[in-house]
Symmetry: C2
Subunit: 149 residues, 2 copies
């Protein structure tokens, strides 16, 4: 692996990101690559200064992505929270330490934006990923509830 | 209880909201009512169209609060997510069904904004609240990880 750059995603990166989302045990049944819905929501992400959709660019090839949301809140002495969603790595690049690089970058970016904590939720079936986040100092202190319409 | 109105919080509501946050088993040690940090972050919340800090106004008395964040994301066919944080009810008004009214309102508001799911995390020590959300149809499918700086 060369030294990958983590940068803000552009509209041109959306197809690659959707391919990552679909190339996943949970995602393969719930994405529709090519659907125009992705470009529309990408425009909303790009227009929101509290969203940062990032890609890992390795010499022009997009090999990973994650999304940060910066959330202002009054609790915990009005602490901003950084939230990580949709972390994905190209299947050909897994097991090479790229996830560690990406999460280190995400945590640093949240600090830079003034956040006092970083949070994420993960499906309970992704047990390997649980150990990964614990190894980086994250603690599974919360239950994550979802209500799907 | 009269028929409470759920409305967007104003700067004048911030002291009441901070009092709720501090009047809580976990919150009592981690808030600082009167600190100017709250007004500063409130301004960021009010300026962000994807934040909705709501209060429950019962005839002029603020008796509860919650915060919604509307998050555009590419996963799940570019579904927007509604996220609920900082749900609090005045101690004098607990056990009267107000929480149910507030979460029903929050879910309806997320639907109105085009979200396809609603999510929240809750400290694992709040076991009574877990049962409450499960009774409303939420499922604890995820682990909630936090990294506090």
């Amino acid at each position: 692996m060369t030294n990958p750059e983590i940068r803000r995603a552009t509209a041109e990166d959306v197809p690659a990101i959707v391919d990552f989302l679909a190339d996943d045990e949970l995602g393969k049944t719930r994405e529709a690559p090519g659907d125009p819905c992705y470009a529309e929501t990408f425009a909303a992400i790009a227009a929101d200064p509290n969203q940062f959709l990032a890609v890992v660019d390795d010499g022009g090839a997009v090999v990973g992505c994650l999304q940060l949301t910066f959330i202002p809140g009054l609790s915990l002495k009005a602490m901003w929270r950084g939230q990580i969603e949709s972390v994905r790595i190209a299947s050909s690049r897994r097991g090479q330490g790229l996830g560690h690089v990406m999460i280190d970058w995400a945590v640093a970016e949240c600090r830079r934006r003034g956040c006092g904590l970083v949070q994420l939720t993960m499906n309970k079936s992704r047990t390997d990923s649980h150990r990964f986040y614990e190894s980086l100092g994250f603690e599974a202190t919360h239950e994550g509830f979802k209500l799907v319409f």
